[in-house]
Symmetry: C2
Subunit: 243 residues, 2 copies
C-alpha cells in the first residue's frame, strides 16, 4: 500500500448546490489539488516533472461511490493514496470522511503520463512514482466498456474559455458539470448521485464544438457520450436515487 496523505477542508458556500451539498465537479478538482500537494511534499511536484520531463499527469478514469455528499460548512477529511501502478497506468484512491470519521465517498482515479508537446501517453517512469510507495503490478485494470448511445439527439455547445485549465485543454471536472447540467433542474433537486464512472478517451481542445447525448433508464442509471467532430471523447455512467 502507498503512503497516505490527508487534508482537512470545510465546504464553502460558493461550491454548494441548491441542495446544500458540495458540487461534485469541485470535489474532483479539490482531490486533484490534494494529490498535487502530496507530490510537492514528496519532491515530485507537477511543476518538477513538467520542467524535467515535459510530462503532465492526466486522469483517464474516475470511479466514484457515494454514500452521502458533504454539506455546506461541513468539516471533512480527504485522504489520498497511490495504490498501484503498471507500465502505463497509476491508480490512486481518495477517501472522504465526515468529522466523526464516517466514510462518505470513495474516488478511484486512473492516471497516465502525457507528453505535453506530442500529447501522447508516456510509459510510467519508476522514478516518478517510487516516492508514493505504490505496489508495482503487471496487470492492467480494465475499465468497463459501454455501448455507444445511438439514435439520440446531440446537445451541441462550444467549450468555453472558463472550461480550460493550464494544461491547455478542457479540465476534466467540466465534463461532469456538462453531464449534470444536461438534466432538468427538477430531476437534480429530487435525486441524489450514488455512483459515477467516467472515462476520458481523448482530450478536448480549446473552442471545440462539443456534442453531448444522454439517456436515463427506468432503474435510474444514466448514460452519457461526449463527442467532438463525431469522435467519442468521454463516456459516463451515473447511478441515481430518489431523495
Amino acid at each position: 500500500m502507498g503512503l497516505v496523505f490527508t487534508y482537512d477542508y470545510q465546504v464553502p458556500f460558493y461550491e454548494t448546490t441548491v441542495n446544500q451539498e458540495i458540487k461534485l465537479p469541485h470535489l474532483l478538482s479539490l482531490c486533484l489539488q490534494i494529490s498535487g500537494l502530496q507530490s510537492l511534499d514528496l519532491g515530485v511536484s507537477d511543476d518538477y516533472i513538467f520542467k524535467t520531463y515535459n510530462l503532465i499527469w492526466v486522469v483517464t478514469d474516475y470511479e466514484i461511490d457515494i454514500k452521502r455528499l458533504p454539506s455546506y460548512a461541513e468539516n471533512i477529511r480527504i485522504e489520498t493514496e497511490a495504490i498501484s501502478y503498471n507500465k502505463l497506468f497509476t491508480y490512486r484512491d481518495f477517501r472522504i470522511f465526515s468529522e466523526e470519521g464516517d466514510l462518505l465517498l470513495t474516488i478511484r482515479t486512473t492516471f497516465v503520463l502525457m507528453d505535453y508537446t506530442t500529447r501522447k501517453v508516456s510509459p510510467i517512469l519508476d522514478e516518478l512514482v517510487a516516492a508514493y510507495q505504490p505496489e508495482k503490478a503487471k496487470k492492467m485494470q480494465r475499465a468497463p466498456k459501454y455501448q455507444v448511445l445511438e439514435n439520440l439527439d446531440l446537445r451541441a455547445f462550444q467549450a468555453r474559455f472558463s472550461d480550460l485549465d493550464m494544461n491547455g485543454h478542457v479540465n476534466n471536472s467540466k465534463y461532469l458539470e456538462w453531464i449534470l447540467d444536461d438534466f432538468e433542474h427538477d430531476f437534480l433537486k429530487a435525486h441524489s448521485l450514488t455512483g459515477l464512472h467516467i472515462k476520458f478517451i481523448k482530450e478536448i481542445a480549446p473552442a471545440s464544438q462539443v456534442g453531448l447525448r444522454s439517456q436515463l433508464s427506468e432503474d435510474l442509471v444514466s448514460r452519457h457520450d461526449i463527442l467532438v467532430d463525431g469522435n467519442l471523447h468521454a463516456q459516463a455512467q451515473v447511478k441515481w436515487q430518489q431523495r
Copy 2:
C-alpha cells in the same frame, strides 16, 4: 474604519486559466467566503442572520481595480474590511497582496440585506453591522449609470443548475463567467483585465432563459447587458489591455 480580517491563500491549479492566472470569478467567490468567515468570527454569521431574521446578504455591485492577477501556486494575502454603511447599503473592500506585500488588486463591494422569502431589500439593521465597526454614513454612493446597449444581437442560453447557489438564484460570480466566455479565446489570451464594474439589478431564477449582449470599443473598454425576458438584470463595464 472597520475591523480588518485577513486570509492567506495559495492559488490552486484548478482555479487557474490557460494564462496561468487565477480565474477572476473564483476570486470573487473566495472573497465572499472570506467575508463570511469574518462574520462567523464576529458572531453574526450568514447562518445566524438567516435563522434569526430570515435575511441574506446579497451583492449589488463589484468595482475592481487590477494591477496584476495572482498566478498559479502564488501565495497571496486577502484583507477585507467593512468600510461604511447607510440605510440600505454596506460597503466592503477586499485588498489582495502578493507575498512581498505588493497590492495586486482591490475589490469594492456593495451589499444589501434581502428577505429570503419576499426577495425584497430590507433596511440595514445596526445590530447586524456593529460588530464590523464600519462608519455610519448618511450619503449613499451612486454607482455609475450605463446606457443600455441597443441594436445588438443577444446571445441566448439557459441558466444551468451549476450556476445556482444555496440562495436559490444564479451565483453572482457566474455573471462574470458568462461575460468572459462571450469573448473569443484569442482575445482572452492576448488581453488582460485592468478594471471591472458590474452591477446586479435583479436576481436570476433557476432555469431562466438569459440573454447577453456585449460591445467592445476601440479603446478596449467592453460593455455588457444581461437580460431575462427583456428586462435588464445586470450591467458591466470591463477595461482591458494588451498583454
